[in-house]
């Protein structure tokens, strides 16, 4: 997670998105508590469902690299735009995955990244708008051993 790879560069280049990857848990002190991450991001305010379209597979083909694309409805003008979107994986050892930062210059609040999922869990997105309002969306992604379909 140190160097920006091609995929992340693609996400960056596509729409002037700033992507901050959460540091991997360095010590046992950092818990995988999704609620804590969300609270830190929202300042305790309750986000409402909506505005976000979160594209994730129902079942991951490879838990180590799960494609995620996200789009937040917004005019993306100086008066009204999406500031930050936080991605949380509530079953990972470290629930924080990434924060995507946008500006009106981004044009669209849209990004595609790949995330790692340790197990079957919910992936949660929380969007912070320029007026301080908060929106959320989530989806369950199953990480399976696979192999017996047919």
């Amino acid at each position: 997670m140190k160097a920006i790879n091609r995929r992340q560069a693609f996400a960056l280049g596509g729409g002037f998105v700033m992507l901050t990857l959460m540091p991997m848990a360095a010590d046992a002190e950092v818990t995988g508590d999704a609620a804590k991450w969300i609270e830190k991001f929202t300042g305790g305010k309750q986000p409402v469902k909506g505005k976000i379209s979160l594209d994730l597979p129902e079942i991951a083909e490879n838990g180590n690299t799960v494609p995620l694309s996200i789009n937040v409805e917004s005019p993306m003008t100086a008066d009204s735009y999406v500031k930050d979107v936080m991605i949380i994986a509530d079953g990972n050892p470290n629930a924080g995955v990434a924060t995507l930062s946008f500006t009106p210059l981004s044009g669209k609040a849209e990004a595609a990244i790949r995330i790692r999922l340790a197990t079957t869990q919910n992936v949660i997105a929380v969007a912070k708008m320029s007026d301080g309002s908060l929106f959320t969306e989530q989806k369950t992604v199953k990480v399976t051993i696979g192999g017996c379909g047919g």
């Binding site: 079942i59 083909e61 490879n62 369950t140 192999g147 017996c148 379909g149 047919g150």
Partner: protein
Amino acid sequence: MISRREFIQVAAATAALSTGVGTGLTQAVAQQRLTEKELLAFEPLGNVTLVHVTDIHGQLMPLYFREPSTNLGVGEAKGQPPHVTGQEFLARFGIAPGSSAAYALTSEDFEALAKSYGRIGGLDRAATVIKAIRAERGDKVALLDGGDTWQGSWSSLKTRGQDMIDCMALLKPDAMTGHWEFTYGSERVKQAIDGLGFPFLGLNIRDTEWNEAAFEASTLIERGGVKIAVLGQAFPYTPVANPRWMIPNWSFGVREEDVQAQVDKARKGGAQLVVLLSHNGFDVDRKLASRVKGLDVILTGHTHDALPEAVKVGKTLLIASGSSGKFVSRLDLDVRDGEVKAYRYKLIPLFSDVIRADAEMAAKIAEVRKPFAPDLAKVLGKTDSLLYRRGNFNGTFDDLICQALLQERDAEIALSPGFRWGTSVLPGQDITFEDVTNATAITYPAVYRMGMTGARLKEIIEDVADNLFNVDPYYQQGGDMVRIGGLSYAIDVAKPQGQRISDMQMVKTGAPIDPAREYQVAGWASVNEGTEGPPIWDVVANYLARQKTVRLEPNRAVKVTGA
């Protein structure tokens, strides 16, 4: 001498007397006469005829295939077709016990009825039916193949699907989609598609690098003056259920939004009829139909369900055409003003003793099978009991495979995948190499032997159970439960993942499975690259060579609740 064909026309009457033990055969059944004319009888309707075949699984010849006695639905699908079996199925669709339809569609009295009605299927019989429909309906007919066509037999495996491709070419399908086709690897799939002469559709397949469409999404054809958009949906979990390393550059998924986008695009492009040629599985398609607007017909596949009636979800008709080449579906549609005004449907069972073989196809089948004929005919052993596979839990053919794994690999526990293809063998019949490979012919056949803790075994069983019994169909994969030898367990299908499985015990001793202990496990069809071991058909053949005659009683090692 009375021919088989002549025989069967009176068979129902006499067979009813000799085989109707406890089935309460009716007078109507006893008077039944089965003829090709009757099987094909259809009062034509409207301006379009869709002909659907799916999940043929490499089966070119007539065969025995016992439909499931257990096919549980969960959540909203509970008790809904196709999750009805046996007597309940017969009652629901008004089918007389002991009738030809009862034999073709259910497991009721299968052994006895198989003897009266004989084998079903054969692509030469399908050809006769398809030609007859085309002769009657002319330019109104579209033929669509739902996939799982190129895999499931020894000749398909050895030719990497070319045997099926060559035979299907004579039928001139308008489109196909796929699943097991992908287990021949990306290069072979691309090469095969190039030579098809019709589109191989997969709107839900993207390349893993750029997340762009990797296959054609749809094809627009005109039949009976109606513009028809056929969208193709490949099996969404191919890289999960089958080896991903064989198709590293393709990513699948249900991709409901993409289906909707393609429907909208087709409508905008002037399509008056929109058909989804799907390999999703029935429950996935039922959910999809309730959420995607503008789909007129879904030709379902993957879960091998054979339903004698169309299922209507909102305005969408769902068709389930069975598997293994047993059936051809005919759906007549009256399409006007961009919508289906009326329909008529028939699932045509291909009784091989009643429907004539098409000579051209029969010759082609003989040609493609010729190089393998001596191997296929080899007798490996004999069975005193019915061997079958289909059903949510263990089938006797799988029990045979598990017995072979336990004994030939000296293991405590055997794991065998819950595939839904594989033919049946009647009591008293020889077990040939063809029978064994019909149940095992895959491109990753290696039999592994490895240590697994009791905890790991529980995790695997729970994982597979959730692929089958998750209440949300989009999280299901459509295979049956992993078959297990040497171990018994209880399952509550209504519980969530992690809580379904209990009472895991060693069958021999009754000792509970110790989560911490390591057990020696033999299994096959691992999706992991580099799995080593002899191919499963050799292991089964060696076992049969030692046993000579086998007898597999119905499996009682799985106790099911919550259904």
